[in-house]
Symmetry: C2
């Protein structure tokens, strides 16, 4: 079964669009999905950016909000920009790493994005994250505790290093088995078609 890697940062607005539809699309295409939470911040820093390009370049930021409003409306998806934007996504990313071994990262990811870009919540807040873990019923306190384990921090750091090494410069990004990189929610269909062998 061909695989598609889905690389996302929890602060990324366009990754929200992909996270909420990718499972149905891979199921229809007969492709195995691999969720790859990572941190975009270190890559942005290497590019000389200390925050999101949507903040650094306000015209780009205004268009992004309007663009996602239009797309979300077409897809029947709620959309509210969180405050602050971009969110500090480190804690959510570490939790997603914890969930990988236990298998709840996909559900967690969709709930985090839903809280953040669906309802405008701050996903850096412990209460937002605790409520999500409670709803997942995965042991809130143990999981929060596990997310500060040095091994988890290292795994997230390695993951983000891997992203940079493989040429990722934004999110969402998709890799097919043969190493093709596709960037952006608007390239998801193309990535799926490539993964399925159409080229």
């Amino acid at each position: 079964m061909p695989r598609l890697e889905f690389w996302y940062d929890f602060a990324s607005s366009y990754s929200y669009l992909s996270a909420m539809r990718i499972e149905q699309l891979v199921a229809e295409a007969g492709i195995e999905l691999v969720w790859r939470p990572f941190l975009l911040g270190p890559i942005f820093k290497m590019q000389g950016w200390n925050t999101s390009p949507f903040i650094l370049y306000p015209a780009k930021g205004s268009h992004m909000v309007r663009d996602i409003e239009r797309i979300a409306c077409d897809r029947g998806l709620p959309f509210n920009m969180p405050d602050p934007f971009p969110a500090h996504s480190l804690h959510a990313a570490r939790l997603a790493i914890v969930g990988e071994e236990k298998g709840w990262t996909p559900r967690f990811t969709k709930m985090v994005y839903g809280a953040e870009f669906g309802r405008g919540k701050d996903i850096a807040s412990k209460s937002t994250l605790s409520a999500i873990l409670a709803e997942l019923d995965v042991g809130t306190f143990e999981t929060l505790d596990a997310s500060t384990d040095p091994l988890v921090k290292d795994r997230l750091r390695d993951r983000s290093d891997e992203a940079a090494r493989r040429g990722i410069f934004g999110a969402p990004s998709f890799f097919t088995d043969d190493g093709e990189l596709f960037w952006g929610d608007d390239r998801l269909e193309q990535a799926l078609s490539w993964a399925a062998g159409c080229r």
Copy 2:
């Protein structure tokens, strides 16, 4: 008849993709097309960039080339990156301004993009531009001469100021009659549908 404004810079690789397909799409949608050549350089300068983001951020640049290779292949369109990239697009843009009154800007635009991104030519070169004007049969010497007229230079400057004022930050960009801005070849279908009243 609803209108769609197509804003492009001759150095923009993604504008090539739109220029080569937009006429058929507007014809099918019953929309009037307005060609709007402008210069993106001054806008990039305001953002602190002294060249294309595809040069400033090499990972983004590599992905752009591969992305356009894939798309061009799907569309049966030739694609060769010009050297140098980005091209110095000032002369081509001034010529396009001259052509607006005479009605040959659409044909000229497609020929410039075809030379640049189809065959990899340098569109800053006088011989490339002269050959295009000769093929258009619009009076090569008179047209080259007209393109250095202060009024033409002013019109191009005003056009580029208008782009910045209206929130354009990249190319291609599209405006519908109600002032909605759509950025990127991948938003062209959406812009057409919006222009046609679907929202």
